[in-house]
């Protein structure tokens, strides 16, 4: 993210090389935003719950991956499986223990509950792991760079981005083409009618919350290969994920992907061609404009 634009090609400085560098950076960041946002979007789409702890789940995944790497020597290339599974269970457990009690109450209830959960997770990590930045060193992909069209593409970011797209594709296929996927869609459309089909919608909610956590578990696992971990690392990602979900239309995975790529590109182009300090100004300005014109998002129903 923040560091990605800084790696200018040493040989170049040509207009085309700059352009392709900015383009590739934007697309790579966009793909990662898409996976983070997909988890949020899925939970919102099925349960009408905004998970305010989403960014903190990402942070927990990154810490898990960091400790797996530094204590046990497991590379992020492999530990994403463990962090994905861990976050699935952590997220499903948060649903069962916290969020479930708020469903069917006022709309503020799940919002405040997940907000409380996010504060708890953030402070727990602050207390246990200090606010220091920790960067996992000695990973397999560390320092490897590909050169494409004059742009230098760091391998860790590229692999993370490509893998995000693969996971998104699998998630989309699962929801559109499998029996459980249809049950998830049915629950999203009409919970009572889904119950009448013999679908235990409470279990579907648990599963969906688990999948939401799994998305950030996998994303966070890979991101540890190039990003520093600290207790506040989730904040910016969750803010961007909210923007992506709102732009893409709540509950739509293809919408989240397109919106995330758009956000990634706006961020990287504004950061390079205007000024680095305004890249998030541009992102949120775009959000405000789109929401004013199309309140249901660019690709919303």
């Amino acid at each position: 993210m923040a560091e990605s634009v800084c790696s200018r090609p040493s040989n170049g400085g040509t207009i085309l090389a700059d352009f392709s560098q900015v383009l590739i950076d934007g697309l790579m960041n966009g793909a990662i935003y898409a996976l983070v946002a997909a988890g949020l979007s899925l939970i919102w789409g099925v349960m009408d719950v905004i998970n305010f702890a989403h960014g903190e789940f990402l942070m927990v995944a990154m810490y898990a991956c960091y400790w797996l790497g530094s204590l046990l020597g497991i590379d992020p290339l492999f530990s994403w499986v463990l962090t994905g599974a861990f976050l699935f269970f952590l997220s499903a457990a948060s649903y069962l223990l916290v969020v479930r009690r708020c469903i069917g109450r006022s709309a503020m209830a799940p919002l405040l509950a997940t907000f409380g959960l996010s504060i708890f997770l953030k402070n727990f990590c602050l207390n246990r792991f200090t606010p220091n930045f920790r960067l996992l060193s000695g990973t397999i992909m560390e320092g490897r760079v590909l050169h494409v069209m004059g742009a230098s593409v760091p391998l860790p970011q590229l692999v993370t981005a490509l893998f995000s797209l693969v996971v998104l594709g699998c998630l989309y296929y699962f929801i559109k083409r499998t029996r459980i996927g249809w049950a998830i869609q049915a629950t999203a459309m009409d919970r009572e009618a889904a119950e009448l089909m013999g679908i235990d919608t409470g279990r579907i909610f648990t599963l969906v919350f688990g999948f939401g956590g799994m998305c950030v578990g996998i994303a966070g696992g890979f991101m540890t290969s190039y990003l520093a971990v600290f207790p506040e690392v989730g904040a910016l990602f969750s803010l961007i994920a909210f923007v992506v979900v709102a732009l893409g239309g709540f509950g739509s995975i293809p919408g989240a992907l397109l919106a995330a790529l758009l956000i990634g590109l706006v961020e990287s182009f504004a950061g390079f061609y205007i000024a680095p300090v305004i890249k998030y100004v541009a992102v949120f300005a775009l959000y405000v404009v789109v929401i004013l014109i199309r309140p249901k998002g660019l690709f919303g129903w």
Partner: protein
């Protein structure tokens, strides 16, 4: 009472403290078509929902095939053989006809059985075969109602409960849909239906219950209800 498939005895239900039905009892025998008739707000749908497990009765008991099912959650009822086609169809609008039907058979794990049931419902409603890939929300009201009934049949129920089939359908279609209900019954499915089209419903039913403000006020064979002056005045405007 052992030959009764469904026995509802003296159930009472309320929403937020407001009584919707009170001490209501009814029986449905194996192979029967039983119609529940009454005006809007009389408590017909509440009765259906409490049998389907969507509402838990405050008092009373519901027995199905001899087993006490009072308070069983809705998602378990289909496994017991009770299928409820709710008022307003409640199809999954953004899914195709085929996907809606597959979801109707969610409780069935055997692929062969699901395929056989699909063939059966397509045989009953050939139009659904033509519309298989179409999204449910893009169909006409009549087609949607057929799809909802077919979805209710996909679990292979012993008892099919149909709530306000005629809602929003033109009269000629209502008869067509009710004819298919009679056909489903001839194939061995017991039917409990709620209907505001009193005449049409009683024509296919064996027996009927008349409900007013949360109580059963009259019951008997369809013939006797059709001949009853009281009923004719109240519901058929004759």
């Amino acid at each position: 009472m052992s030959d009764h498939m469904l026995s509802v005895s003296e159930i009472s239900c309320s929403y937020n403290g407001v009584q919707a039905i009170e001490d209501m009892s009814l029986d449905v025998g194996v192979g029967e078509i039983v119609a529940i008739i009454g005006a809007n707000g009389a408590g017909k749908s509440t009765l259906m929902k409490s049998i389907a497990g969507l509402i838990r009765p405050d008092r009373g008991s519901i027995k199905f095939c001899g087993e006490d099912i009072t308070g069983t959650p809705a998602n378990r009822m289909i496994f017991k053989g009770v299928s409820y086609v709710p008022e307003g169809r409640r199809l999954f609008a953004n899914l195709s006809v085929r996907e809606n039907l597959e979801l109707g058979a969610f409780s069935e794990r055997s692929r062969d059985v699901v395929e056989a049931r699909l063939a059966e419902v397509f045989d009953l409603f050939p139009i659904l075969k033509e519309r298989e890939r179409q999204l449910a929300q893009t169909m006409s009201g009549g087609e949607q109602q057929m799809c909802a009934i077919a979805r209710g049949l996909m679990c292979g129920p012993k008892l099919l409960m149909l709530d306000e089939l005629s809602l929003g359908l033109m009269p000629s279609l209502v008869e067509k849909v009710l004819d298919s209900v009679a056909e489903i019954n001839r194939k061995g499915v017991t039917i409990l239906l709620v209907e505001q089209m009193v005449q049409e419903a009683l024509e296919i039913a064996n027996r009927g219950y008349v409900i007013q403000v949360g109580r059963v006020v009259q019951h008997g064979t369809s013939r006797s209800l059709l001949d009853s002056d009281e009923l004719r005045k109240a519901y058929m405007g004759m």
